[in-house]
Symmetry: C2
Subunit: 471 residues, 2 copies
Amino acid sequence: MTPGDLPAAIAELRGALGPTVVLAPGDPAAGFVRDERGLLPARPAAVLRPRSTAEVAVAIGICARHRVPVVPFAGGTGLVGGAIPLGDEAQLVLSVQKLDRIRSVDPVDFALTAEAGCVLTDVQRAAEEVGLLFPLRLASEGSARLGGAIATNAGGSNVLRYGMTRDLVLGLEAVLPDGRIWHGLRSLRKDNTGYDLKQLLIGSEGTLGVVTAATVRLVPRPRHHAVALLALPEPAVLTPLFALAREWFEDRLTALELFGRTGLDLLLSQLPDQLPALKDPFAHPHPWYLLVEATATRDGAGLAAQLESFLAEATRLGLVADAVPALDRPQARALWALREALPEAEKRAGGAIKHDVSVPLGAITAFLEDAEGELAVAFPGVRVNAFGHVGDGNIHLNVLARPERATGVSELVYRVVAEHHGSISAEHGIGVLKRDALAVAREPLELELLHTVKAALDPLGIMNPGKLLRG
Amino acid sequence: MTPGDLPAAIAELRGALGPTVVLAPGDPAAGFVRDERGLLPARPAAVLRPRSTAEVAVAIGICARHRVPVVPFAGGTGLVGGAIPLGDEAQLVLSVQKLDRIRSVDPVDFALTAEAGCVLTDVQRAAEEVGLLFPLRLASEGSARLGGAIATNAGGSNVLRYGMTRDLVLGLEAVLPDGRIWHGLRSLRKDNTGYDLKQLLIGSEGTLGVVTAATVRLVPRPRHHAVALLALPEPAVLTPLFALAREWFEDRLTALELFGRTGLDLLLSQLPDQLPALKDPFAHPHPWYLLVEATATRDGAGLAAQLESFLAEATRLGLVADAVPALDRPQARALWALREALPEAEKRAGGAIKHDVSVPLGAITAFLEDAEGELAVAFPGVRVNAFGHVGDGNIHLNVLARPERATGVSELVYRVVAEHHGSISAEHGIGVLKRDALAVAREPLELELLHTVKAALDPLGIMNPGKLLRG
């Protein structure tokens, strides 16, 4: 990309949008632009806070005319540096946080339209107010925002039943890299009128435009939850357990979350202040644990019976060593707390080299064994905290090791992922932290196609350059 | 597009692939290339029948070098002329029918990999053999083929529960417009590594490449079916009925199919040879009927109880005038037969001007009333046979009128669709028959984006030119 005229762009932006919209880097109000994981410096040339889609369009139009790079920013909870500007005051940050209106909630249409800056919990609440559920459920949902979830195709804990963010988006409004507004807000369930343009923006990490609003799918709100924690005798039972759970609960199966003894030990040692909430629910230690959740709208009795017969059948087949069903919501929340506190425990233990990977469902056990086995040989003594949404084949394979080992550890993990036909980014995206790994993991033809799409839709290369693809 | 050298291309194709792969237009073996609806002439310059992905790649490579247009063809059951060559011996047809292997069925992974020429019922059967379900269900499934279903993002009768074809595809193998093979067969549930390239090919109607194989999602096979036909007092009950059905059955709700008295009268008058199978199940005529189906894997008793309590609640609320629950599979099939025989009855009555449209769920009643009302004023005496997958907002609004009225009738229908923020093609695609309507229905910016994507991925414009977009 030809370097643009940054000072001229900032002057014109300030003139068009005013000083409260265009913040200088030192402005305390711009301090929210920082890397969630603290791994990357954030030195924007300026931080833009447009208050409407029209202002986003004006801002991007000015950036395009001056050919200056712009980095879309929503909640700032991404884990791969996708919303952090590169270089030293070389890129502008455009925050969508001021676009925070829920535009409409339509229970008849099972749809909600919200702006990109809406915090996910606010979207969830708006759906609840009409008796429905917006099913995107992330650990960071209290600060993650809708635009970021769409730009990264966020996953989370409800994917098994409701799909990724991609599956929840019915329509989009976005500002394209030339500053024009695409009015693609629709609530249709079926629309076969040409290439599905919204699919390009979903998961594009801000490299093809700025999502300003979305119409998302709502679903009936479950009133009944069946939750149990299963202790597994060995990882090989995972595959038959999945099949059994799907057969028993069908689409009511909402979550299958795995964690290991390493994770539970981390919780018990690192978060003693949160005991007794975080206590081992079993009398004896086990190598692996699986949290199962199924939900239903009305049929609470049927759901409870399904859980009971599932546990009985799994026990009869020798697939579980022990099981703790939650008898009420507080017990269910206590079991979930074990899973949800894992990242915090990891952080307290000094952090980890993180890998958000996925493999085919049938390869999970072999992948876990191979990755742990090879890491033990190559990096003797490191501990592996593997957990995640295994019902989707998604493992957060986090290695408790010194950061300077990151390159070698990650290369090994990604090699084992490739051997099992997996993905190096299941749900966090590529951003800048996985950009070079992507170039190794995907075929040259695929990389070429990614570049072709980028060049076609952002010919000036101003949208979040250097993210996802090398600029 | 610059006209290419067709004779040279055909000579080279014949040399490279042999005479059994490259058929002259008059060859009886090429007779399968014809328009399903008999509306369009089919005069290919030659018909190619490659036997492998490698041969497809060779064929497309030769077409690209000579810049000759090629029309991908699968089952030939499309309703918008998408697989029919344009012009008089100006375009080649490439059939994928010889690519008909099921490459793998993996019950552990809940995935199946099949070639583009596999007939849908064969894919369904392969899934059933491992106790699972491939949920794509089309009226034409006995002759429609996987590649065509993917190229058109086919819908059908199971979309409510399992989604469109787009939602069933995990990975693709395709030959790109330059003849290179994209190896994108994956069975991952989560993969956030850049733009989701397969989304571009799904629903692209052969304009961006040729799908040669796909890995598709399988689901647990339902063993229990709850089916009922509801007689509705008025169309306004549809919206509250949908909400109630979703609340009661949740994701078990598999189909909500609407048809009207016009449709039932057509069945009774046009298909007397199929009586008594096709008889009015009610004692009195009603204006509208809704077929409800829910399915379950194991919980047959629970499902039957759900149907019973749903019907009781719907009756109590005054949402249904009468209801006939199916007590066994033959009764269920008899109710489905009413819905499924509608296109045949229409054909026997002399055909119809067909509109495969969708509107937001909350707009269905108003759309039906407005469309029927305006048609009655503008075209007095025409009958409207409206039916379809209303649970997805999808209506087949077919008008029993002379073909010469098609332009005026369709313009009216599409205008009413636009007033209700709907789509002029819910599930059949655009092909050539809706190409000009698309240009009116979508915003100029959207059309420009469609052309941008097309130009980026098929810069020579050889893939199915004139379909979807004006060439």
